[in-house]
Amino acid sequence: MSDTTNVAGLEKKDYAGLKSTLCIGCGHDQITREIIAAAFESGVDPYNVVKTSGIGCSSKTPAYFIGNGYGINSVHGRMPSIATGANMANKNLITIGVSGDGDTASIGMGQFCHAMRRNTNMVYIVENNGVYGLTKGQFSATSDKGAKKKGGELNDYADIDLCALALELGCGFIARSFSGDMKQMTTLIRAAMNHDGFALIDCISPCVTFNNLKDSTKGFDWLRENNVQLHEVGFVPEYEAEKVEQRAGETVTVPMPHGGFITLTALDDEKHDPTDPAAARRVLERSRLDEGHVFTGLVYYDRESQALDRTLNLADEPLCGMNEDQLRMSEADFGTLVDSFC
């Protein structure tokens, strides 16, 4: 590993994708860069990456990162089923799903909930801008009640808090972040890729074209000013485990079941313990009541999480590679089966 290559001997450019076609300054492009950085830093094998998405500006982004991964841009709101199916066929692949707040919190709400309930092994990033970008700026289900659109129109309905919903549904990895926080997002994505199960990152990602008014809680200005980190999150992969020792003092290390650690360094007196569901609930409640701030970081982490492929006790070899010798019973067993109907 040199300065410019990672543990897999690859350079950052090996994780690049096509040139983005999103509006200049769009938060989604920041997340694209963060995904690239995370995959590079963790030395992910690009050919083993599956990139899934629904429909929306956000859902276009899998074309813009890890070009040597396999992308599948499905239909609006239904990416979780595609991701789950692909994961069943080949459980060795790393699945990174990208969705929007419209794609997830409205049309895709059902699939989103059920993927969490089943615990599909995937990273699920909601690029949350509070609007439907691609259809030109309608309010989404994550817009705040009373939020104002460019033309002055107000949103009449309360927002859905995707992290609170995830906690309710037993999701084992729940994070909230801001696209503008490169360091936090990159770390969270790395930890999420190392998680066994569904890892949600609800990342506020401003739409500069339709929802970036000065006082919008999904706009850059407001977020830069009012984003409060719950802690400084760090991720230490298995191959760097010795680094954990060096962290002293206020840092808490949380080992992950497949190796590697999450490290958490408190930034103020309110030390958030993400392994405690009650604490997670409190943080989300605080976030909801405190309209002046948004709290970002790792909200909840369940070390016991077990992904769907383990629940189903899937064979070690991926199903996609199995041939007739493995999949057909013997002629004698077949005869017995047929006899049972005679």
């Binding site: 979780p80 789950t84 199916g85 692909a86 692949l93 189903l312 199903l319 996609c320 199995m322």
Partner: protein, 619 residues
């Protein structure tokens, strides 16, 4: 809805084959659902089957868990007819709520066994039937003080009565009872005792000479299977190498997935690790089911789902995605009566046009239409080869009558040859490919080459999308690039015909009247053709087994003076497809339809043709 003998709402044909009382009649058992009649019904059916006499049972059940009327029709036919006969010769009336109708529906010369406590039993006016009042409940009571158990046992009393009156072999009945409750010694003994009590009662109180219908042992079922269509399809999936099932419960398809899963739990466990060589996920709805199937198919697993019409409607968006992004998957549609929720426990063939053109834009899916368990088994397995070879969702059309009833079938054969996994490029093969494009037509057959996620070669990764794409899978809004791909897909699907099951042609080659049919309608046509022949009307027939249609269909139409398309839907969906394919002959294509929801009988086909024979059709 009740099983009116001869479906009064339609022109019921009075043309029948001559009736023979030995091994040629229909038994109707009228009960209440949830009363446990399934065991006794199965025992009677299996006993007759084991006596070597062909029998086809049809379970007419309500969309309800308990308390509504249910009928179990068992057609005994030495000639092997398996469609609904349309007449009831022997009726066992156990349900007070339907007794009046059940009595009215008995054919002249029929025999009635009715529970003596049913009010209608006291005022039977018909003199053309033999009536036997039987204290079913009372006899059962002696064996079970418990009310629930008594209800179950009352059904076993009827097994005894029929054994005596219709001449079942005693040893066979006893062994089938033992098999039905195998593993539970006490239950076996109790049920056998009650059957014997029924026999004793009948011997003492019922006049056997009043019953001309008898079962005589034959050896016509030896080596044959007796199996539900859904189970046959599930075995096909298993042997066809399906490793993924994503599904959502709906009548009449649920048992297809449930059977697949239970078979896989037995036959797909890795011997070394005890782990599963398959995955099954019960989805949140059918759109998700198809998403799961396509996700798995895209990543290289053979995958399937099964549903009925309402589920197919929900799947529409993903069906178009699978078609355009060229992803394999197998979708079973076990049809029931539509539109909307329709009659969920009644049968129809109303989804053909829906499946052919599912989703918006130009589509045109491959649809396979097996008939009979043997074909359900074989074609279900073959569907995975076709889906992977043509990289597209494949629909397998069956129906409630096929899927949920037991049918007599030849033994299934162990598959010959391996899987056809289609054009999949490995990293090794890619080294030799100069210019790889996921959607390029390298071979001129419209079938592109695909790579699977995880393939380690810089040329392998591509981006799959339902939005406009060029031959290299790149996003496009350019007209020529779009046209190139969409036209190639049309060619690919049209070309698939060479691998699809061919139509099966039968009957009298010199006949000028042709009948085209598909799926379970086959059984009705089989008997209808014999009835017509008896009445001097020669016919030939063609059973279509797939869409896109083969050229043989055109040739068949051309070679007949008039063609009746027999199917179970209101609008004649196959007839319309055939008319589109044979525009010049559209005028000679007529419709012989039945869509009232009962398993189809011969009558609608006979009637449609005889009406024209009497007043010759101008063709």
């Amino acid at each position: 809805m009740r099983p009116t003998a001869g479906a009064k709402s339609l022109r019921a044909s009075r043309l029948r084959l001559p009736r023979v009382p030995i091994n040629d009649f229909t038994i109707n058992v009228a009960t209440v659902n949830g009363s446990g009649s399934a065991s006794s019904n199965t025992i009677v059916a299996k006993t007759i089957f084991r006596m070597g006499v062909p029998i086809t049972p049809k379970n007419l059940f309500p969309s309800n868990i308990a308390g509504l009327p249910t009928w179990f029709l068992m057609r005994v036919s030495e000639k092997g007819y398996q469609c609904r006969s349309g007449r009831h010769d022997v009726t066992v009336a156990m349900n007070a709520a339907t007794a009046v109708d059940d009595i009215a529906d008995l054919a002249p010369g029929g025999v009635l066994f009715i529970d003596e406590s049913i009010p209608a039993a006291k005022s039977i006016e018909r003199t053309d039937i033999a009536v036997h009042l039987v204290p079913f409940a009372k006899i059962a009571k002696e064996y079970a003080p418990d009310v629930r158990l008594r209800k179950l046992l009352a059904n076993m009393v009827y097994v005894g009565v029929l054994t005596e009156m219709l001449g079942f072999d005693h040893d066979t009945v006893m062994s089938v009872v033992a098999e039905q409750f195998s593993g539970k010694e006490k239950v076996v003994k109790l049920n056998q005792d009650v059957v014997n009590a029924g026999i004793a009662h009948a011997r003492e109180h019922c006049d056997a000479s009043s019953v001309e219908f008898k079962i005589e042992a034959r050896n016509l079922t030896q080596g044959k299977m007796f199996i539900e269509g859904n189970t046959a399809a599930a075995i096909g999936c298993l042997m066809g190498g399906c490793t993924f099932c994503g599904w959502y419960p709906i009548t009449p398809s649920s048992s297809l997935c449930e059977d697949f899963i239970s078979l896989a739990k037995k036959h797909r466990i890795d011997a070394g690790t005890g782990k599963q060589n398959f995955a099954a996920v019960q989805a949140e709805d059918e759109l998700a089911s198809l998403g799961l199937v396509l996700g798995a198919g895209w990543a290289g697993a053979r995958s399937m789902t099964a549903t009925a019409g309402p589920g197919i409607s929900l799947m529409a968006e993903f069906a178009g995605f699978g078609y355009y992004a060229e992803i394999p998957g197998v979708v079973f549609d076990v049809q029931r009566v539509g539109p909307s929720t329709g009659m969920p426990t009644r049968t129809q063939q109303g989804d053909l046009s829906l499946c052919v053109n599912l989703s918006h834009g130009d589509t045109g899916h491959i649809v396979l239409i097996p008939a009979g368990p043997e074909e359900l088994y074989e074609i279900s397995a073959q569907a995975f080869d076709i889906a992977e070879k043509y990289q597209t969702p494949v629909f397998v059309l069956t129906d409630l009558d096929m899927g949920m009833n037991n049918w007599m079938s030849d033994r299934f054969e162990y598959p010959k040859g391996g899987f056809d996994r289609g054009k999949v490029l490995t990293a090794e093969q890619l080294k030799k490919v100069e210019d790889y494009g996921r959607y390029k037509d390298e071979d001129g057959d419209g079938i592109p080459y695909r790579t699977l996620p995880g393939t380690h070669h810089p040329k392998a990764p591509y981006f799959t999308r339902g939005s406009g794409h060029d031959e290299y899978a790149g996003y496009t809004e350019k007209s020529p690039a779009y046209i190139k791909v969409i036209d190639r897909i049309a060619r690919k699907i049209a070309g698939s015909v060479v691998d699809l099951p061919k139509p099966v042609i039968g009957g009298d080659e010199s006949a000028e009247i042709g009948i085209i049919h598909y799926g379970s309608t086959m059984y009705a046509v089989e008997e209808a053709r014999d009835i017509l022949a008896e009445n001097g009307v020669k016919t030939r027939d063609m059973r279509v087994r797939s869409v896109p249609l083969h050229d043989e269909v055109v040739e068949f139409v051309n070679s007949c003076n008039v063609v009746y398309v027999a199917e179970q839907n209101r609008d004649g969906q196959l007839a319309d497809l055939i008319r589109l394919k044979t525009p010049g002959s559209a005028g000679k294509i007529k419709k012989a339809l039945y869509y009232a929801g009962m398993p189809m009988a011969a009558a609608p086909v006979v009637d449609a043709i005889m009406a024209d024979v009497k007043e010759p059709a101008h063709v």
